[in-house]
């Protein structure tokens, strides 16, 4: 018997097996069979065996137990093992020469048996291997399941797996890694969740293959975050590159979407598994938002940071008790009047730490948000701020409202509203004197719950400002459905707009959106007069920042209050009047009471996509507002606003349109046509080419009606660049957009005809066009504004299509309008075009008894001397068809 268990811990990746047998010969035989694949440890009697099992209950993979032994026989060991919860999970194979005992031992919980005399070595090894596999699977599966989207292990399973892996690979250096997708939400929003899921699956599959090669494993932690655990390597770049292949061209073409990674290399196995991945996540967070670095490594600096964080957390309870947190106030100014006037203040917290000095909120707020301490801190600040407001009112007979921050963590507290009310009551202030700043990030999750809570706050008289606004597209969608009293622009947003190459367009758009919502905009982080002037011009309402004052202690803030009081004594303002921070001037071209959520849903969805311009159009008076979401080169100008939408846009378009497409635009893009199409199909779209920077570019114009029944007087029109799709589609010949097929009849559609027409035009231009003719076939009795599909005439159209297809069975047939098919005749069909047309007429004759012809046709032949393009041939054929229809 070898006593030193420790040295048999499976250091080299082998599973550890306990062999319990009193006979030297039997032990030696098993040792010989198993020692190459397993670490073995031996016990000579049952008592010793139980001791070892208890001692190594986490490390042992299997027990081979001889039933016939002195001191405590195998059957007793089995009984005790299976009733001791600390070792009952250990799989036991019994060894016996008695068949009766086999059955008994199996019913008592042995997982398998090996007879004596021993079977062939291969049999023993196979049973041992299979038993260990089964036991490990069962153990893990018993408390977990797989992630449904990717089929990867889920987090709980993964952590267990890591633990188990480590038990058998104590000396292998391991890396913990976290991979996630930058701006995954963009993908979700732009391409939809089905697409997003398929991306997750692809990445998951790729990572699984990679980990298989590297001897590691992977799981999806949540959303777009994957965790990897594998033997220590160096080539993280290569690893990330390989994983990034899973993003398709389309997805990675979007320069905002890429994979990023955090690595905690050579993990300290003394740390619980979760902490190791926390470190990897910390490392990943360091490259968040970086365009140049995709990989973050956990290093000493981060370790120090971690220790620092731990200290702050440890010191927190005492800091609350000793009132080390101090509340500072930063004034917000109304910049509407000639002389900016104090409107309110934001309460900001500082930590006067007895050892570490003054600590800025950046150091502790995110930290406390992660562990929930933020709730205590926030309540502390709310209490202090409301008390202060009450005190000011008491002392000066005057005060301004103070805004406090409400963390997204707080929003999950079902008692939040009650807590806030309680605090307000304690302080004796009015609810309107407290403003709640709720950060944008809070809105993006569980929005329904948030909206409900915000509604409750507002119904109680509190006002709610959306903080840190402008950092993501998602929030644009949010605000449309959200009841808020002010938008507060993220400080970084202001900084970016005014730094380096000054670009304030996005800023202007957001201010415009706020205007629609009749919600004031507060700009934070304003530092210079230049910024102040520009913001005022753009229509920003309130400003907060170093330009006016840094956050100051309550005593210093009193100076602002007293200054303001003087003005008010002269010019009283009713703070309760109006929405938001103060009064609003109306500059809207549309009904001011309208706060169209649908509009902003549409506008902001559009903002996230590749639109050149988006227009919100009043179809009663043709007034419109235009947006140009982001700076692009080579665009046409987007008018900001005007009062003749169709005229102006047509004019703008005509100045840059490809000459060939001008007739198309002129004929289709008329108010009547757009509106009748909208009325019929609910949408209007038109694809044409603009010459931008000298090269033809396909664009699609789409118009949609407001979904809101209450607003049938507005439409949204967007123009987007579809050049790549169109050209790709043409090359592949399968783009639904251009070479697509008609939904109802399955023949090619108008877009497809457009492409063919264009190619033929090219050939005509070069003089290389083969002889051709165009037949236009109209379905009798179907109006040209019938729906393309889903209308009463569907069957008639299909029947008509069948006739056309039979007559011209060797030529391409296109459905270019609800009631119109076009056939392009070349080669043999061209030669027999007259006969074919006659057959069409004959078909009509044959139906005389049955309601008359279904199809009337017109034919026109290409004349190289007269026709510069297909459209003129088409026009003649169409006229002939119309004529045939009339004289029928």
């Amino acid at each position: 018997m070898l006593k030193s268990h420790e040295k048999f811990h499976s250091a080299n990746g082998k599973r550890l097996i306990l062999v319990v047998d009193d006979e030297y010969v039997d032990r030696e035989l098993l040792r010989n069979v198993l020692q190459d694949d397993y670490e073995l440890i031996f016990a000579e009697n049952g008592e010793e065996a139980l001791g070892t099992m208890r001692e190594l209950n986490e490390t042992l993979s299997l027990v081979l137990l001889d039933l016939m032994m002195p001191v405590l026989n195998g059957m007793d060991v089995l009984r005790k093992a299976k009733t001791d919860p600390t070792i009952s999970h250990l799989p036991i194979i019994v060894i016996t020469s008695d068949q009766d005992a086999e059955i008994e031992s199996l019913t008592m919980g042995a997982i398998d048996f090996i007879p004596k005399p021993y079977p062939q070595a291969g049999v023993i090894r196979a049973r041992v291997r299979r038993t260990i596999e089964l036991a490990e699977d069962r153990q893990i599966i018993s408390f977990t399941e797989r992630d449904v989207i990717t089929g990867l292990y889920n987090r709980e399973y993964f952590y267990k797996y890591v633990e188990q892996y480590d038990r058998h690979h104590r000396d292998v250096e391991m890396d913990a890694m976290v991979i996630d997708i930058n701006h995954f939400r963009l993908i979700n929003e732009r391409l939809g969740s089905v697409h997003a899921d398929s991306i997750l699956r692809r990445i998951g599959e790729t990572l699984r293959e990679m980990m298989q090669d590297a001897g590691g494993f992977v799981c999806r932690k949540e959303a777009d975050t994957f965790m990897l655990y594998c033997p220590h390597g160096e080539s993280y770049e290569a690893l990330l590159d390989r994983a990034s292949i899973a993003l398709s061209e389309e997805e990675s073409d979007d320069s905002r979407v890429w994979l990023r990674m955090g690595v905690y290399a050579n993990v300290d196995k003394g740390l619980v598994v979760e902490r190791r991945f926390d470190r990897a996540k910390m490392a990943a967070d360091t490259v968040q938002g970086s365009f140049t670095r995709r990989i973050g490594l956990y290093d000493d600096k981060m370790h120090e940071q971690e220790l620092y964080s731990e200290q702050l957390i440890a010191d927190f309870p005492n800091a609350i008790k000793e009132r080390q947190f101090q509340v500072y106030y930063q004034p917000k100014f109304d910049i509407g009047p000639e002389v900016p006037a104090l409107a309110s203040a934001e309460a900001l917290v500082r930590w006067a730490h007895p050892e570490l000095g003054m600590i800025t909120p950046n150091d502790f707020i995110p930290l406390f948000e992660n562990n929930g301490l933020i709730q205590k801190l926030d309540t502390y600040v709310w209490r202090e701020a409301t008390r202060q407001v009450g005190e000011w009112r008491e002392r000066f007979g005057f005060t301004v409202p103070v805004s406090v921050n409400v963390s997204r963590i707080d929003m999950h507290d079902p008692h939040l509203v009650e807590t806030v009310l309680e605090i307000i009551e304690e302080s004796g202030i009015d609810p309107y004197e407290l403003l709640l700043e709720i950060t944008e990030s809070a809105y993006t999750q569980d929005s329904e719950q948030i909206i409900e809570m915000v509604e409750r706050f507002r119904s109680l008289g509190l006002r709610v400002e959306m903080d840190d606004f402008g950092t993501g597209y998602s929030s644009l969608n949010m605000i449309s459905t959200l009841p808020i009293d002010a938008l507060k622009l993220d400080m970084q947003f202001i900084r970016n707009a005014f730094s380096g190459r000054r670009d304030t367009r996005m800023l202007e758009i957001i201010i415009d959106i706020a205007e629609y919502l009749s919600v004031p905009v507060i700009a934070e982080g304003v530092e210079t007069e230049d910024q102040l002037v520009a913001l005022k011009e753009m229509g920003c309402d309130f400003v907060q920042g170093y330009y006016f004052s840094q956050p100051v202690p309550a005593e210093q803030f009193e100076a602002f209050l007293l200054e303001r009081k003087k003005t008010i004594d002269v010019l009283p303002i009713d703070w309760r009047g109006g929405r938001g921070e103060g009064r609003r001037k109306e500059r809207l071209p549309f009904s001011k009471e309208r706060r169209s959520s649908v509009l902003f849903g549409s506008v902001t969805r559009a903002l996230a996509a590749d639109y050149f311009g988006i227009y919100y159009v009043n179809i009663e008076d043709d007034r419109f507002i235009g947006y140009k979401p982001s700076e692009r080169r080579n665009d046409f100008d987007v008018e900001r606003r005007g009062d003749d939408f169709f005229g102006l846009l047509r004019e703008t378009m005509m100045s840059v349109i490809h000459p060939d497409d001008a007739p198309l635009l002129l004929s289709r893009f008329t108010k009547d046509n757009v509106l009748s199409k909208l009325g019929r199909d609910g949408s209007f779209d038109l694809t044409f080419r603009l010459v931008l920077d000298g090269s033809p570019t396909y664009v699609t114009m789409k118009a949609t009606q407001m979904e809101d029944e209450a607003d049938r007087s507005h439409i949204v029109v967007g123009i987007s660049n579809v050049d790549e799709q169109v050209r790709e589609g043409r090359e592949r010949g399968k783009s639904m957009l251009v070479a697509g097929r008609d939904e109802l009849t399955s023949v090619k559609n108008g877009q497809a005809f457009h492409i063919v027409e264009e190619e033929l035009d090219g050939a005509i231009c070069e003089g290389s066009a083969e002889p051709f003719a165009v037949a236009v076939c109209d379905v009798v009795g179907v109006p040209d504004d019938a729906p393309m599909a889903g209308g009463a005439d569907d069957q008639r159209i299909k029947d008509g299509c069948a006739i056309v297809c039979v007559v011209f069975k060797h030529s391409p047939v296109f459905r270019v309008a609800a009631n119109r098919f076009v056939v392009l005749l070349k080669g043999g069909d061209y030669d027999s075009r007259i006969a074919l047309m006659e057959r069409l007429v004959e078909d009509g004759e044959s139906r005389k008894s049955n309601g008359g012809a279904l199809i009337v046709g017109g034919l026109a032949t290409y004349r190289p001397d007269d026709d510069a393009e297909v459209s003129s041939v088409f026009a003649r054929a169409r006229d002939a068809a119309l004529e045939a229809g009339r004289t029928r």
């Binding site: 010969v25 039997d26 035989l29 001889d66 016939m68 020469s97 004596k116 005399p117 062939q120 070595a121």
Partner: protein, 110 residues
């Protein structure tokens, strides 16, 4: 002692060697330990004292070892005595013991 000796003795050397995965040295070494196994003496003493439980245990243990090493001539009488002792049968075991003794002596002589 060589494999040939064991074959001559009547051992099923193929089976025994297979359990040693063809390792001849291991096989011979393990057979060597049988020659000095206390089990035989324990079996004899237990029977002499009428301790049938102990006798069974000793016989059972021997049976396992001998069958694993495929020492058929010795395993056969041990097998018989084990099955008799399993039922704690009271009888005269002298004949079987003598046979075991005889085969053991033969083995030891190799």
């Amino acid at each position: 002692m060589k494999l040939e000796d064991l074959i001559a003795y009547g051992a099923d050397v193929d089976s025994g060697l297979a359990r040693c995965m063809g390792n001849e040295a291991l096989y011979l070494r393990l057979v060597e330990t049988v020659k000095g196994d206390d089990g035989f003496a324990q079996l004899e003493e237990a029977l002499r004292d009428g301790r049938l439980d102990d006798a069974f245990e000793a016989a059972h243990a021997l049976k396992g070892v001998l069958s694993n090493l495929a020492l058929a001539p010795l395993a056969k009488p041990v097998d018989v005595i084990t099955e008799l002792l399993r039922g704690r049968k009271v009888m005269d075991y002298a004949g079987l013991l003598a046979e075991i003794e005889r085969e053991l002596t033969r083995l030891r002589a190799l």
